[in-house]
């Protein structure tokens, strides 16, 4: 069975990052490898966030790149926001983290193997990993790995060129 990866907005935004070409190329290789070897999952929140990217040309290109990757769009109705609120409470995070928790909730609800992000300041850190793992296990759900493409690739044995 194919692995499934939830790619949150920072991954797609990175595809047009001209300031850090190393990360941009790494992300492109990761997305290409994931498209061949895994199911790529997003939530409708991803294109909704990309749609808020400043610069019409850039956001159009980002949405086109997202569409071209043919991700599966997961929807869970009210369960997503209910779980996001529970996650916020479980981690005692501020309300300003709610939108972060929406992505985590979609990842957990879709049973994805990993949440892939470039957010090393908040999401891809030890505490959120521990909190989300405990949260999912308590509910009998699959606990996703949370990490950057550099981390998730080797964790899942993805062959990235």
């Amino acid at each position: 069975m194919k692995r499934s990866l939830y790619l949150e907005t920072s991954i797609w935004s990175r595809l047009l990052d001209s300031a850090d070409l190393r990360k941009q190329r790494l992300t492109q290789s990761f997305v290409d490898a994931a498209a061949l070897q895994c199911r790529i999952l997003i939530s409708p929140t991803v294109p909704a966030e990309l749609r808020r990217t400043p610069g019409k040309e850039k956001r159009t290109l980002l949405l086109d790149r997202l569409w071209a990757a043919r991700p599966e769009v997961a929807t869970f109705g009210a369960r997503a926001e209910e779980m996001a609120l529970e996650l916020l409470s479980a981690g005692r995070w501020k309300r300003s983290r709610f939108a972060d928790m929406v992505h985590v909730a979609y990842t957990v609800l879709s049973g994805a193997d990993a949440l892939v992000t470039w957010d090393v300041d908040d999401l891809a850190r030890e505490r959120p990993r521990v909190v989300v793992h405990a949260f999912a296990v308590r509910r009998g759900l699959r606990a996703p790995l949370i990490g950057t493409p550099q981390e998730v690739g080797p964790w899942l044995g993805l062959k990235i060129r």
């Binding site: 300031a19 294109p47 990309l50 309300r95 300003s96 939108a99």
Partner: protein
């Protein structure tokens, strides 16, 4: 939540903080479900528009 040194992440976080404020305001009014569904519709519509844009490009590539 301090600003990220990574400009890509910082941009996404700015967008997400605004969204969080909007959604939490809706939650206080008991309207979180409606706000989330509207956000979902917006995202799906944005993807559909991208799909429509790609059709002429694919036709050109096949020609």
């Amino acid at each position: 939540m301090a600003g990220s040194k990574d400009p890509v992440v910082a941009q996404v976080k700015r967008i997400r903080r605004k969204l969080s404020r909007k959604l939490m305001a809706a939650h206080r009014k008991g309207k979180l479900h409606e706000a989330m569904r509207a956000l979902e519709r917006e995202g799906i519509e944005a993807l559909k528009e991208a799909g429509k844009r790609s059709k002429p490009a694919r036709k050109r590539a096949r020609a």
